[in-house]
Symmetry: C2
Subunit: 710 residues, 2 copies
Amino acid sequence: MTTVPQDVRAPLTRLFDPRSIAVIGASTDPAKRGFQVINGLLRSHFTGRIVPVNPRGGTILGLPVLREIAELPFGLDAALLAIPAKAVPGVIRQLAGRGVAGAVVLANGFGETAAGAPLDADLKAAIAESGVRVVGPNTSGLLTVASGANLVGVADVPAGPVALVTQSGNMLLTFLADVRANRMPGLHSYIGLGNQADVGFADCVRELAARSDVGVIALHAEGFKEGRSLLIAAAQAARERPVVLLRGGRSTAGARTALSHTGSVAGPDGVARAVLTQAGIELVERSDELAIVAGVLATTAPIPDGLGIAVLSDGGGHASLTVDALADRDVPLANLAAATRDRLAELLGPAAAVANPIDVAGATDADPSPFVDVARLLMADPAVGLVLVVGMYGGYHLRFDPRLQVEEEATSRRLAELSRESGKPMIVQSLFARDMPASHDILRASGIPVLASIDHAVRVVSALRRRGHRLATATERSSLELHTPPESASGGTRVLAEPAAREFIESAGIDVGDWVFAATPAEARAAVARFGVPCAVKVVSSQVVHKSDVGGVRLDVTDGESAFRSIVDSVRAAVSGADVMGVVVTPMAGRGIELIVGATADPIFGPVVAFGSGGMLVEARGDVTFRAAPFTRLEAMEMIDETAASKVLDGYRGLPKVDRERLATLLVRVGDFAASTPRLRELDLNPVIANFDGVLPLDVRIVLAEESST
Amino acid sequence: MTTVPQDVRAPLTRLFDPRSIAVIGASTDPAKRGFQVINGLLRSHFTGRIVPVNPRGGTILGLPVLREIAELPFGLDAALLAIPAKAVPGVIRQLAGRGVAGAVVLANGFGETAAGAPLDADLKAAIAESGVRVVGPNTSGLLTVASGANLVGVADVPAGPVALVTQSGNMLLTFLADVRANRMPGLHSYIGLGNQADVGFADCVRELAARSDVGVIALHAEGFKEGRSLLIAAAQAARERPVVLLRGGRSTAGARTALSHTGSVAGPDGVARAVLTQAGIELVERSDELAIVAGVLATTAPIPDGLGIAVLSDGGGHASLTVDALADRDVPLANLAAATRDRLAELLGPAAAVANPIDVAGATDADPSPFVDVARLLMADPAVGLVLVVGMYGGYHLRFDPRLQVEEEATSRRLAELSRESGKPMIVQSLFARDMPASHDILRASGIPVLASIDHAVRVVSALRRRGHRLATATERSSLELHTPPESASGGTRVLAEPAAREFIESAGIDVGDWVFAATPAEARAAVARFGVPCAVKVVSSQVVHKSDVGGVRLDVTDGESAFRSIVDSVRAAVSGADVMGVVVTPMAGRGIELIVGATADPIFGPVVAFGSGGMLVEARGDVTFRAAPFTRLEAMEMIDETAASKVLDGYRGLPKVDRERLATLLVRVGDFAASTPRLRELDLNPVIANFDGVLPLDVRIVLAEESST
């Protein structure tokens, strides 16, 4: 029995980047994973130690085979389990005894089927008892390219800066196919999460973000078990390196969000999309763009915050398609300085377009070097954050004259130098990208991506712009950690009476304006008289949900007493046996814009705040956005900006101009309230009337979880 | 002097598919287009006659050169003009004398620059006088692949069914690069339109639609001179074959639409997008999808109208990404029959998912042939219109075992047979598509496209679905021809007084409800009394645009006389010297949904009708769609369906249920009115109140063009 040198790294670090690997269930049969994994490690030139285990002993591919786990040298980093599902929990427990940091479990037949539930429970118990970290079960394996720790059975993986984490082994193959087809950077590592019995996305993001050789973390996920922990991990990671996410199952996962009133506004995917973006994750909408977005974010500098794009083309057709695609993604063109335009005109002559986009209009057909002079002028313009070259660059020698190849390569070297010196990124789209000329590889080697598609080029521009903005504002963003830890609840809920709801949120510093609860007609009369203006009077009754529908609301009331009586009559007529506690009296709100502010306890992401256009048609309009609570003032302002409602807040067509700062304050306070009220299930302020006087919730509805009986 | 056999084809047919070509400005210098074109025709094995013309005579590449145009044999189909711009108009006139049907003009320096304007005018005069059809000037040329009539100087163009028309020569190169990279079908022909001094998009669509060997017409355009003629040509063409359009300059072209009130709701591109789609054109949003969408529409049968998609995958990851992408494009999954699901379960065993999407879950890894059995079951299900295979198909021999190659090829032949027999299309997405296995080429040869990207696969599915719907409903759609030809106007406009506007549209059968014009307080009193219900009273004054803003409106009026006086006082106080003609009195409308119906004279597309959510916030909400007038009831119903407003028309949250048929009638009548009123510049019915009682325009505003003084 031997030991390996003590590894001081954390268990997950050791599992993800193992220096020693036991193969449990090693086999001499080339058709079995227990053989293929050893073969794969050898073919990948794994730099560490491989320890096969099989009761039969002998050797496999020249390696001596141990007969028992008990014989393992103490303190191996990882074990690959190529054994039947039912043997897995026991082996995990045994591995703990040999100081193995982590295990990769290939077998299926656990939580993904009903029949596997008992085994799944046993596996989880084994994990909890042993402290062994587990990737899987039902995983395709994992891979660290630099060390050759290849447990996935895929050969010839191109090396690069991308750490890829997926739930589906096919996505690794797809990713690699896209890397090759688009000459994108390759992999730092791959983790196939499988069923996530232990290790999940948040663990991976935390662990990979700490690796200095990871340039980007690329995720493919079909749902999250612990959405909040992923948000927290991603928000932290995004300060160091980009996190990119392709989600599957968006269209079917969303039924859960329809449970609450606020949630039903989201559509199946609104909450997830908003809060993942809030956490700094770059969401990729198309599966064919994951490798491209991840690759460019890993290798190309972000666009300095606030700057625009200069488009440099050698033909009008590509220029206008590029400008359209940028506009579709709300990426602004740089407004070039007059001096820049003048010098461009000198350089390019009268046929060229020198307002952005710049079209060299054939000036480079016989000699691509003017691109360098133009790019230098553009890079030097203070409004330009990135130069996007579109058209035929790199293909002049193919299209016009083979002798231009030398010129193109020299031009590429000078463009790369320019980008480096200016600190501003450059991206090239070329219809000759698939011909893979050397001039393109020179650019790629310097962090200038070359793409065949205008749409892909613009997609990565938008990602680099968001990344630049994120980095510039990182300190102004929420860590997304909750003020108060979540609390278990019994599952039941109760609706607070409106006076209680108002008092509850007032105690959190949320202004709901003047109001009085009146339990009798006389109190209602006194309340209206005290306000001295026409009032709104609304029934308070635990049997009434939609107050207007049962005659429970009177507006412009000057006679509180008769309003009270009339409401009681209407409500009792509509809802037999209704128990009317009284009425809430408020001064009538001024004319204003109807907004909605809400909060919900999302089952995946925890407390989430909603904001958007309010009123009765809120669901039909669907103009609502979301943030995980708590969030900052900056995030509240961004939240406001991304709704259609924001278009009418600045004095639109005679409507009152709304103080966005006050609105942001309301949102931040609602977020703090949601983040520090573990029992909150739902908060609806709808409508909130926004006008000259401020922002005033007219109606307050709160649903709390019943306290747990445990 | 000789003649060629008389060609009875129309001039444009002869120009696009020439059997004889004169090269004016032929050259012996290989750097000149006058040489390159002849060389290109010879290298493309042009099957017709080439007649070079140059004053120096001699021979070029073995062909005798004529010294003068006058020496041309009579009745050549086409002339390529490789001569300086200033010589072009004269040569066009000379060509007419020799019976040449059409000319391709390469030179630039015409309408695209200010300096070229006089020459451009002379060219247009020459075209008008001579009757010679002209492609260009400033064009990259044209090409018919089958005959080798290659006037564009691009070699090795793959042959196929796509007729491509662009405004930019680079787009031909881009298209061909995308065809090669994606193994898409090649070109039937190419036309580079350049400045469109004569031949435009509508001419091309009409001409190419008449060619039985054209499978699809693919357009790249940066704006249209005659938008309406394109709509008419496309609507006609779409009955025979698909028309696909990629537009450049969308984001910058739209400023014009902001001129009118209705137009300003459209955003820069709303009108164009809506009316081009109405004409049956498949709009392609991404430049990297033009070759793919066009190629598939040319070779693959459309999806039978009303049927859904069956997704067949060999892995869960691809299946869920596919389902998401289909949902994003509103393409429905087929609801499989219980019998189909039962037989799938028998076939695939318990590990497989047999509700749509169907995941064979590894059952095909060792033998792809079960795909055939599954596909047969799916094709036989009456709810399935297309089977979309996603994952690794065709790559099993690369991933698992080289011996599977034979099986895969056999499977492809059987799948192709199945699709043919069932008459239902099939599309395959495979992460091995770029490896180009033979099994994929077998599918492609049978009209089953194989694509590397899930997003591309879903994009073409949505196009095939729209195509199927179009063909099924072709007879229920408008030809888009106008009832009354457009009339020239002096450019000035005038706003009709509301009573005149109401009478004008009433005469077109558009119901605006009960109303009375009252010129005096007494008439107002009588009107209110006659209606016997509370009324709305609105000022009529040519100085007042926004009536509410100047106190020109009274609601719930029971005393017409005092309302009249009070309105006059308010308006005169607000607008000094306002000339009040009287008031319009209408019964108060019931509660309902606020809609907008409008019409505008679009400078490109002619009369266009708008419909959407109405009221004061109409621009902010931006929920408006458009149709070129006149249009049919089916088109009106589709128009309603595509707005967010349609979501609240069926009795949403206690709102009245609206009769969509009556709404469609209103829209059709407004369309007929717009299409038969050449002087109409703007019609705004905002709001139109829709409720149980019907659909009632509350406000009618009409702007007419002044009659022309010429």
